[in-house]
Symmetry: C4
Subunit: 227 residues, 4 copies
């Protein structure tokens, strides 16, 4: 806080942005459960009703994993950020915006897959892919902003970390679009399977592509002595 | 915490008020998604059903941006506040109260615009404008309280910051009322467009009118050396 | 943290309990808005539909104010607490439990008052009074626990603060029961008015009865010089 | 933070994980109230409608207590954790995942017990037992990970604490399965009673079996002098 008085409103530490984002991620990941409902079946058919809701469970799992990965990404990014400016706040709000949308395509795809209309199922998959790709695009903008504003980063993070992260986000855009196209043109289930697999891919690389190899080496090393 | 024992209940640092407010903003901004629902259409019409829900998306975007701006305002204000007293807590709770109401007019206006009754649409727009203006009025009261209690502020913030901020809040009251009147008298869509534009205006000036010019100069300057 | 190793699980600082409680209060106060719905009226009757929902707005206001006061109480109490033990955690969870219930009687009373059955309205008022009184009873247990465990308090708070606070909580139990009895026996609206007034009474005394007179004297005094 | 640059993304302090988890627990415990609804009865029958919803109240109480115990467990565990790695983050996300599911079996069992179909009631109980056991299994995996990674723990916690905690989690798996089997084969109410009792058992031992005896001795001792 060595800056002049005008800094009060422009540059600031990231603690409130992080707390605000964490709360939003926590709420999104928890709201997803509201889509899991008591099946609307006649008395005596609860079991089959629960089983026939399997698309809701798969969609829930895909979206839960997606938000979990977004949170890990967010954590890895803000670990490297020294301070925030207004542009970064809006980039962050864009990421939060697209993440907050996720419960909507989740119920749409879950509902469509429980109905038996193939056209609707393809629309549902394409819609989920659209929002999934938008979320990756928001990350792309976020990483790009940081790659262009190294003065916001901690000194030890001013390497090419965020330059490389952009590739990871771009891959996400491409893969979600691909899942949508495949699900729309071939069969909805293909799209659904990709939605489940994509967060797994991002989970593995959540510490950043740039550090992926290095990370694997040190994950299990003993803790360094304190002090 | 140099004060006497009686300070325990009256003057206090702002950390809990900030954390509580952040959580409320995070929940409000996330609850908005609950209004985005699976369209109630016959099988095979999911796409057209999703498209015909466009008023819900516009209303969602307007309210999401509004809450985002409220959060940025709140952050800019509390960056300048040294300590809180009971009066400020209640002013803050008034801001939170009007913000927490926002999902209600959002579903009302979104629902009305999806029905095709012009009278209801005008009522919906006027209702959203009423709550939007009330939220700005709550900020007006909040800023006024701070302008009258400089002893609650950090030393470098005891300039005319909050005196000037009142103008920004007052402008918001006038503009939301204007949007409501125009939407009611002319056509609902005019009001809706203004609801979308107003948060954009506040986003640009979210660091405070008082610092608007200064801010623009320094936003891209290099980070000052640490220490 | 000067205690032995066994303290890790028994005595602990209160930061997580405070953060957890703040999040719960924030969610409860925000969930209340979910009861404000688009009125189910024929096209062209939105305005009268919104107006006829007035009991929902009054109930919302009463419960919002109640949770706001609970938060201020909680803040005033934990400002005086040095550390927590398991008993205090469960007392806190009891307060959170009764507060978390509040949205339930709120929709019950709001729904009953919008129907036109006098018996249901009296039941609704009595039910709200029951939960309101339970919440005060939870505070009574909480304050009693602290009055009996001064070793959990900060040194400057080991006066009779929590002894006296028990009176305030006990008054709340009595007043909510009274509102319920009056609303049940006389007319529901009497109960509703008391539900609105009670949080106002607690707001005024939220820094504690014990300090009420002292507080009024110092609220507007200038901030002491720092350092 | 004495580690090299690559630590930014792999090893990290636990503050964000704790804040994120607290927010999720707070939301889950609060969302449960959304299942308590205005009973759908004819005018004049509100009281009997509220009373006949008793299974919803019992299910609410069982799940509220369960989440409260999970929070206390989480607090006791993270009090002993020095730093987190990616594996621990995913173990934590697994615990959060199974906890976030809890509102779903809660409404299923509450709904089934309010209908009068014995087959559905048995399915509901078995389903709740399944998720309850999964949550204990997630804790088992979490404790097992910590027992195998003592380098993540604080020095004074590298005893056999987490080795022993695994037994507590394993007991939970067995007991929830048992409740499900008994409720399914004998009568649903037996299962429901066990669901209420199990959190009470875990509440008593929430500081850890390993320290149970020691804890009981010191709970009421006077606070050690500071400094």
């Amino acid at each position: 806080m060595s800056g002049p008085e005008t800094d009060l409103g422009t540059r600031s530490d990231t603690s409130r942005a992080v707390a605000f984002s964490d709360a939003i991620f926590a709420i999104i990941i928890t709201l997803l459960v509201l889509d899991l409902r008591v099946p609307d079946v006649p008395p005596g058919h609860l079991l089959s009703g629960l089983l026939s809701q399997w698309p809701a469970y798969v969609a829930y799992l895909a979206s839960y994993s997606y938000v979990a990965v977004v949170w890990l990404n967010h954590k890895a990014a803000f670990n490297r950020i020294q301070q925030s400016d207004r542009g970064l706040h809006w980039m962050n709000l864009l990421v939060l915006f697209t993440t907050a949308l996720l419960p909507f395509p989740t119920i749409v795809v879950s509902h469509a897959l429980q109905e038996h209309d193939n056209a609707d199922q393809r629309v549902g998959i394409a819609f989920y892919a659209l929002i999934g790709a938008s979320l990756c695009a928001a990350w792309l903008a976020f990483y790009h902003y940081l790659a262009r504003h190294p003065d916001l980063l901690k000194e030890q993070a001013r390497d090419h970390f965020f330059h490389v992260e952009r590739l990871r986000a771009l891959a996400g855009v491409v893969l979600y679009v691909l899942a949508g196209v495949l699900g729309y043109l071939v069969t909805p289930l293909v799209g659904l399977v990709i939605f489940l697999l994509l967060p797994a891919f991002y989970a593995v690389t959540s510490a950043g592509l740039y550090q992926f190899r290095a990370t694997r080496k040190i994950t299990n090393r003993p803790r360094p002595p304190r002090g």
